[in-house]
């Protein structure tokens, strides 16, 4: 009974952070800043939902799948963000006007 409620709290927290991530995706100016919101909040939010499902279900087949999902989200989402940011910078997508420094552009040696 108490487990149901704790799981529900985690699911609600997860949905809240997913909402913040989506809000950031709409409000922030360029692709790099949007990726910041997309990786942090959406990773944490989805992990929260899966953790809530695990707490509600306990250690059976279903709960273990949720735990494994958390591990895979934590491993893959930063890698995807890195790949998108690097590809965007290499294909010349400009940073927003408020940008104050771009040391990646200054040392151009990594680009062919």
């Amino acid at each position: 009974m108490i487990r149901e409620h704790i799981g529900m709290v985690f699911i609600l927290l997860g949905i809240m952070f997913d909402f913040f991530g989506v809000l950031g995706l709409v409000r922030l100016p360029d692709v790099y800043n949007r990726l910041q919101a997309a990786t942090k909040c959406v990773t944490f939010g989805s992990a929260g939902i899966l953790l809530g499902v695990f707490i509600k279900q306990g250690f059976n087949n279903f709960g273990f799948k949720a735990l494994l999902g958390i591990a895979f989200i934590f491993l893959t989402s930063p890698v995807a963000a890195h790949a998108i940011a690097r590809a965007a910078h290499r294909s010349g997508i400009p940073l927003t006007k408020e940008t104050i420094v771009d040391q990646y552009q200054e040392d151009n040696e990594l680009k062919d």
Partner: protein, 168 residues
Amino acid sequence: MTLQNRSRLFVFIFSFLVWLALTSIRDLEEVVAGLLVAALVSAIAGKFLITSEKSEHIIKRIFSAIKYLFKFLWEMVKANLHVAYIVINPYLPINPGIVKIKTKLTKDSALTVLTNSITLTPGTLTVDINPEKKEIYIHWIDVLSKDVEKNTKSIGGKFEKLLTEVFE
């Protein structure tokens, strides 16, 4: 047994156990399919998991890894509150830019964990890495300084010490 084969065997056992946890063990078809998939995975990608012979201080390293996990989770909670604050604030207080930091870690696995942690912690996102010169380029949503040494301390410093204990 050579190092590569030992790594393959380890990957085979681990992936088969994960398969058993995901499916039901009473079903013979599932078990056979799991054996085939685990064999395929370990044949293709098995040699990358264990790459060095040494295994001393194994308990100390596991202890450091657990300590690192808790530190990382705490930093991650802070990161999410930070981004939530920026997004809700009507003036959108951002100050973005791409900065460069240096690292002392040498192993590929340690670098991967470091860059993934940087991406998931407050305001920073790894854009690219230069493996020869050991430099990491980071997009920072709220740039505080442009100095390489200072940024190395404030972004990478908090993880680097523990990661050195875990991996090297």
